[in-house]
């Protein structure tokens, strides 16, 4: 099963490599991983998407907690949570019909066209991963020039918070 894990960790060089090293050494799978400093500049927050059986996920959270620089973590998937991912995508927009079609699809998915040339649209799209996957599917491979996705970030719904 897919799990989204949020990790608060010391904002120090080497922490990221400890986490990625742990995953490769123990054969755990990483689907996406994003990390950035928080409002407290001594802390970074990582959102990591992984998958595995319950016992694998239990090991993943235990092994992450065992790393000295991991301060706290939360498996968001255990409760209701919000996930968002942002994508920037270049699509072919060479003639009137394709320019119209791309604009229309972007509007349907609530994307924004943020750069335009006479042959290319660059679209920004935010949503959960399945929405972004659906958009890519709707566009079709032949219309896509380049894709960049941020990976998933997430936060718990309601009063629950990951804080120290």
């Amino acid at each position: 099963m897919r799990h989204v894990i949020s990790i608060l960790m010391e904002n120090e060089p080497g922490t990221l490599s400890r986490i990625s090293g742990l995953f490769s050494a123990r054969g755990f799978n990483i689907e996406s991983l994003i990390v950035a400093p928080t409002e407290d500049n001594t802390l970074s927050r990582m959102t990591l998407v992984t998958s595995g059986s319950d016992s694998v996920i239990e090991q993943i959270t235990k092994q992450l907690n065992k790393l000295i620089e991991v301060v706290k973590l939360q498996d968001l998937t255990e409760n209701r949570f919000i996930e968002r991912e942002m994508m920037l995508i270049k699509v072919k927009a060479q003639d009137n019909s394709s320019r119209e079609e791309m604009k229309r699809l972007s509007d349907i998915f609530r994307g924004r066209i943020i750069d335009v040339t006479d042959t290319v649209y660059t679209i920004e799209l935010t949503g959960n991963s399945s929405k972004i996957d659906s958009f890519l599917e709707a566009l079709g491979d032949k219309n896509i020039i380049e894709v960049v996705r941020t990976g998933v970030s997430g936060i718990a719904r309601g009063n629950r918070a990951l804080k120290i």
């Binding site: 490599s17 090293g21 090991q59 235990k62 065992k66 000295i68 620089e69 120290i164």
Partner: protein, 577 residues
């Protein structure tokens, strides 16, 4: 007064109470070596290879409970420590390794003797640091000792660039450090302990299975009290030997691949298993699908990630062995339920029947020395009170089987990583910490040459170690597996062109003896043990065909143990058919 980073480093070690450091100098560590020269609090032991330094520090740590400390230079200095660090990591041994690094200004420029020490050691340390600011040096060293020695212990590397060791600042060594992200659990959860004790007291066929955590956690007295209070059978892992007195009637021997028949059968048949400070290693469990099929499993460990990693535990207890066992003792005493005496009587009768098979039995004739016989004699002659280090292979198993350890920290071996070459340098650390004790290294002609250079260190520091080389001219354990599982194709397991070990020992300045007849074993050992001054290298020419029995083959369960050669042969034929 301001001190240089080098002086601060050494002062930190002195203030930490470090008695010995094991090391080897080189360019990036020269300021630190200069600081060593200016003081007398910390004694430096010059090894002959950095791997030897880590194993010596490891042996010191295992035999004393205090952290072992290593000092090496950058590049090859630090890469040579990796095997020793990984050895300590797998067996959770507290160790601090200080490595010199090239100056900060050239880090990343492929400077002479530059290696990314933090990167190279990352997968096999509990934690590591690169010191980038002299103001953080003392605090970082304090953190290193704190992390290495608390929770589940382990090795910590502190990499110090040369320029940091030359800069100056005020010296202040903190009494303690607080690391917000590192707060190991010490006490077990009361509810979990209550549940565990209820399950224990309801057991009809209990087994108490303990590992290295009892030794590391100084919990042997508490364990002994709990086992005797309950009257339950107790088995130890290879790492846990000495955690419970081996000569006590409630001890059913080591378990696992080459453990006793009674301990493995008891594991298979038990209805409640109390595991403390053990991690369900594959050499202990055999095939997980066949592991303890009838048992409710209680697992006590200081490391939450050890629990339910290989075998799911019904009652997990996270906490230090000593504290948890103490609370269990109180709860057992306070409980109105008492162990089921009738059930226990029947259970012990069953165990005694398994025990009667005498699964370690071997035949010693007048012609060829059996390796088991040498270890048995060593045990008799030292009254079970020696420190025994070992390398890895058949001799390691024979030592574990035939030397009965009644006390903790007497049995020093690389159980987790299985590092050949560990035994001799580890014995140096043990002998330095226990100057008057008998320290024996049980080894083989394959393992001993992997760190043979340390014989030179032994001479320099007057370490009268007794080396028992069980020389069968084969990599015995490899040969055994090839005999059983590869139709006797002995691919590269014969040790050709061996040195003359007697002359070799003599050339290093020690006493070398070759023993070829069973009748000469005892006298040779006696002479060596009685000489308190000199290192004896005893080259025992042993039976080339001896195998370690009993044995659980890979992929088999505890109840599928082979007792005798004939049974293995039959098994082999079935497999081949």
């Amino acid at each position: 007064m301001e001190l240089t980073g080098a002086d601060i480093t050494i002062r930190c070690l002195a203030d930490e109470g470090v008695e010995y450091i094991f090391g080897y100098p080189g360019g990036a560590a020269l300021h630190i070596y200069d600081a060593l020269h200016r003081q007398e609090d910390v004694k430096h032991i010059l090894v002959r290879h950095e791997q030897g330094a880590t194993h010596a520090a490891d042996g010191y740590a295992r035999s004393t409970g205090k952290p072992g400390v290593v000092l090496v230079t950058s590049g090859p200095g630090v890469t040579n420590t990796v095997t020793g660090i990984a050895t300590a990591y797998m067996d959770s041994i507290p160790m601090v390794v200080i490595s010199g690094q090239v100056p900060s200004s050239v880090i990343g420029q492929d400077a002479f003797q530059e290696v990314d020490a933090v990167g190279v050691t990352r997968p096999c340390v509990k934690h590591n640091f690169l010191v980038k600011d002299i103001e953080l040096l003392a605090e970082t060293i304090k953190k290193a000792f704190h992390i290495a020695t608390t929770g589940k212990p382990g090795p910590v590397v502190v990499d110090i660039p040369k320029d940091i060791t030359a800069q100056k600042t005020e010296y202040h060594y903190p009494d303690s450090v607080f690391i917000r992200s590192y707060q190991p659990t010490r006490r077990g959860h009361p509810k979990q302990i209550k549940k565990a004790v209820e399950a224990l007291l309801a057991a009809k066929r209990p087994v108490i299975y303990t590992g290295g955590g009892i030794i590391l956690g100084e919990a042997h007295e508490e364990l002994t009290e709990l086992v005797k209070l309950l009257g339950y059978p107790c088995t130890n892992t290879l790492m846990g030997l000495g955690g419970y007195p081996a000569t006590d009637a409630l001890f059913i021997g080591m378990l696992g691949m080459h453990g006793t028949y009674e301990s493995n059968m008891a594991m298979h048949e038990c209805d409640v298993l109390l595991a403390i400070g053990a991690r369900f290693d594959d050499r202990v469990t055999g095939d997980l699908a066949k592991f303890c099929p009838y048992a409710k499993i209680i697992h006590v460990d200081v490391d939450p990630s050890s629990i339910s990693k290989n075998v799911p535990a019904q009652i997990p207890v996270v906490g230090e062995a000593k504290l948890v066992i103490n609370e269990m003792i109180e709860a057992v005493k306070a409980s109105e339920t008492k162990p089921d005496a009738d059930a226990l009587k029947g259970w012990w009768q069953t165990i005694d029947q398994w025990r009667a098979l005498d699964s370690f039995a071997y035949d010693q004739n007048d012609e060829v020395i059996k390796p088991q016989f040498v270890v048995e004699k060593l045990y008799e002659l030292t009254g079970g009170d020696a420190f025994v280090t070992s390398d890895v292979g058949q001799h390691q198993m024979f030592a574990a089987q035939f030397y009965k350890f009644d006390k903790p920290r007497r049995w020093i071996n690389s159980g987790g990583l299985g590092t050949m070459g560990f035994g001799l340098p580890a014995a140096m650390g043990v002998q330095l910490a226990h100057r008057d004790a008998t320290v024996a290294t049980v080894t083989g002609e394959g393992s001993i040459v992997m760190c043979i250079q340390e014989l030179s260190t032994c001479l320099q520091y007057d370490l009268p170690i007794k080396v028992l080389n069980l020389n069968n001219r084969y990599l015995g354990m490899v040969r055994q597996w090839q005999e059983f599982f590869y139709e006797r194709r002995y691919s590269h397991s014969y040790m050709d062109a061996l040195p003359d070990f007697v002359k070799l020992a003599e050339s290093f300045g020690h006493v070398g003896v070759r023993i070829e007849k069973p009748g000469d074993v005892e006298a040779a050992l006696k002479e060596a043990i009685n000489d308190r001054k000199r290192l004896y290298f005893m080259d025992f020419i042993t039976d080339q065909t001896e195998n370690v029995y009993p044995m659980i083959a890979a992929g088999k369960g505890h109840h599928e143990m082979h007792l005798k050669p004939a049974e293995v042969d039959a098994h082999e034929q079935r497999e081949l058919a």
